[in-house]
Amino acid sequence: MAVEMKLPPVLDIIRGNIVKHGNPLALKGAEVASWAKRLSLPAQGEILFYTGGEYQLVPFIDSLVKTMTHMDQGGKGFSLMMGVRNILDKAGINAEKIYASVLAKDKERFNNVCYKAAVILQELGYDLCYGGEQELYSGALLYELGYWQDLREYGQKVVQSLKQSGAKTIVCLSPHAAEVFKLVYPKLVKGFQIEVRTFVEMVWEKRDKLPAVKFDDSVVIHDSCRLARELGIDQELRDIMESVGAAVREPMRSRKWTTCCGGPGKLLFPEISHKIADRRIGELEETGAGVILTSCPYCLAALQGGTKEGSETGVEDLIEFLYRGFAV
């Protein structure tokens, strides 16, 4: 018996964006791949550099949630964070306006995370290829939100696009992509045979080649749930910090006991999500560290959103922090 239930529209819209546009927010391929212009990476090779468009969409998330919470159609209470392209039809809001409201410096920062990650891996001696505008989002949210039938179909498209690279290994920047490729694809999608690695693992293997990061303060590591619990990667982050000479402080809850940043709740329960981020920031700031380090685009977005104005603690992705060593 099929269950027909009408879920809040945001979920179906996210689904539609992924299936139709290959990105949860329907960002255009050109936008997603713009960071790579300076590097001219080949489309084929042994190691496929995979962004999944995830860091690129980070600056749009908060702006969209804000707009949609404000809109709060019919006082239903939940945020109708709709995919930009669909908002035009469904709610009469101008998509380009929302895009325009995202600050250029934010877009640049998060696009740069991809650039910096590629440079770091290249400097460590990895030969990378990249799908560019053809790269498709992994579909992790389809899995997360229950659209498994869609993922079965969409996953085939993703597998095809990955195969075109001829790569044996895929290196994922986002732990969510790594999780869905490594743990879910083998159970839902046929023909997925690429070795899945995370950026963190690739760096960890060659950490002795990392340049030192000159940083007078200490860092506190916010383990992402997916990385620490699903993928079992936590000590690697500490080892990497040791290699670059950064002092690490541990929050009250870390590694397998890490506290979620609240990010997964952002689509449907933005207020609760924000509150959770706030509390996690509190746990992290308690350590007195100068920088909160994470290694997940959604943690980065949620924690960045949770920091109070005027707070002296910065939030950085591991990629950004390591790049400090190369940028000298």
């Binding site: 018996m1 659209y147 045979q193 449907l268």
Partner: protein, 412 residues
């Protein structure tokens, strides 16, 4: 099944948001989380065998759920052999009718805390039938007067501070009750003590049931279970069929793991009740109802549990000991308390809701609230994989229950 979940989601979200701004909840839960973590880590140091015992209990529960039909049969036979009466209730309605039939009308009933009682809306049903029913657990008693529902399975009134309790009590008892915890406890003690001895029936649940002896194992601290199950002439146990384990020895292991993770350290009381009160002191003639109840009834409730047991993925939900540990570690629960719930609370509660307390429709908002962050799994002594079950239930909401859409063991 069909339905527009948007209103359901809307009302629920408003409530969740309101809860997250409630300073009572924030203060109470922050204190509770801190205390829970400290007490449990302390208890683990003092009783370092606990994690190994928990692993053993996981196996006991797995085997017991797999063998539930036979154990139920055996447990019912044991209860009857002990001169009690055993019933099997297929669903909620049947369970309520059996209990109401035993009790009748215009009786005074004292009741211990029970999640199953909440699942069945047992108190409300018996009240409708014209009985006077008192919750004897202090937290539940407060909620009964407040017309509220439990916000935590072990500390149901976790969200009500002493000042509010004083207000509620002053109104109910018709005299000024100061916001002093000791005095608040004392006034309820006096009030209920009278009820225990006037009551016609005492109702309790059980944390574990031993099939071989028919023992109902009940863990508590207050002593209200002791009184409600001993003072009235009739004792009715209403218990889920998933609580049955094969032997008395095993039931003790399950009980110890339950209370250890439930922050009891060592509970003040563990009751083991296997039958009616009896004596043979005069001429060795067995006479029932010596000091305790003359009649002893056990209602084993299914209400969807067998469906869960038969599902490869969901049978693990029946391993839940209701220790409540997961809730203290849940980031959503920490800011909303039991508002993230519908009878059953938190991530595991969303799964239970789907099967026994409202179905997928009621469970949907909860299922989409879970962050799937997985910290509950780290805490859970049974290592119940809540994120995996939540994922599959979301899939069922979207795609229905066709098996071929679920995860294969191997697709590639």
């Amino acid at each position: 099944m069909s339905g527009d979940l948007q209103k359901e989601f809307g009302d629920y979200t408003k409530n969740l948001n309101r809860a997250s701004k409630d300073t009572n909840i924030e203060t109470a839960i922050s204190r509770a989380v801190k205390a829970y973590r400290a007490t449990v880590s302390d208890a683990m140091e003092r009783y370092p065998h606990t994690p190994d015992l928990a692993a053993e209990v996981r196996q006991i529960k797995t085997d017991s759920i797999a063998n539930n039909d036979a154990l139920l049969q055996q447990a019912m036979e044991s209860v009857e052999r002990n001169k009690g009466k055993a019933f099997y209730a297929r669903d909620k309605q049947q369970a309520l009718e059996i209990v109401a039939e035993i009790i009748g009308k215009e009786k005074i009933v004292v009741k211990g805390k029970s999640m199953l009682g909440e699942e069945l809306h047992l108190r409300e049903y018996l009240e409708e039938k014209g009985n006077e029913v008192w919750e004897s657990d202090l937290g539940e008693f407060i909620l009964q007067l407040k017309h509220d529902r439990p916000m935590h399975i072990l500390s149901p009134a976790i969200h009500v501070p002493r000042e509010q309790v004083a207000e509620i009590f002053s109104k109910f008892f018709g005299r000024e009750v100061p916001p002093d915890i000791a005095q608040e406890v004392a006034i309820v003690k006096d009030f209920l003590r009278d009820k225990y001895f006037k009551a016609h029936v005492g109702i309790s649940s059980a944390n574990v049931v031993a099939a071989d002896t028919g023992a109902m194992v009940i863990i508590e601290n207050e002593g209200n279970i002791r009184l409600s199950t001993a003072a009235p002439p009739v004792h009715i146990v209403v218990v889920g069929i998933e609580k049955i384990v094969p032997t008395f020895q095993e039931s003790m292991k399950v009980a110890e793991v339950t209370w250890r993770y439930a922050q009891y350290g060592v509970p003040s009381y563990v009751s083991m009740i296997s039958g009616p009160s009896k004596t043979g002191d005069i001429e060795k003639v067995t006479t029932y109802g010596a000091h305790g109840p003359r009649e002893f009834y056990v209602v084993f409730v299914d209400n969807g549990r067998t469906t869960m047991a038969q599902d490869e993925l969901f049978s693990q939900a029946l391993h839940c000991l209701r220790c409540g540990g997961c809730m203290y570690e849940c980031p959503v629960f920490q800011v909303t308390a039991g508002n993230f719930g519908h009878t059953y609370l938190g991530g595991i509660g969303s799964v239970w809701t789907a099967f026994v307390a409202g179905g997928l429709e009621k469970a949907a908002p909860l299922l989409y609230t879970c962050l799937r962050c997985g910290r509950c799994v780290e805490r859970c002594p049974m290592q119940i994989d809540v994120p995996a079950m939540v994922g599959e239930l979301r899939n069922r909401i979207v795609n229905g229950e066709e098996k071929e859409i679920g995860l294969d063991s191997q697709a590639s």
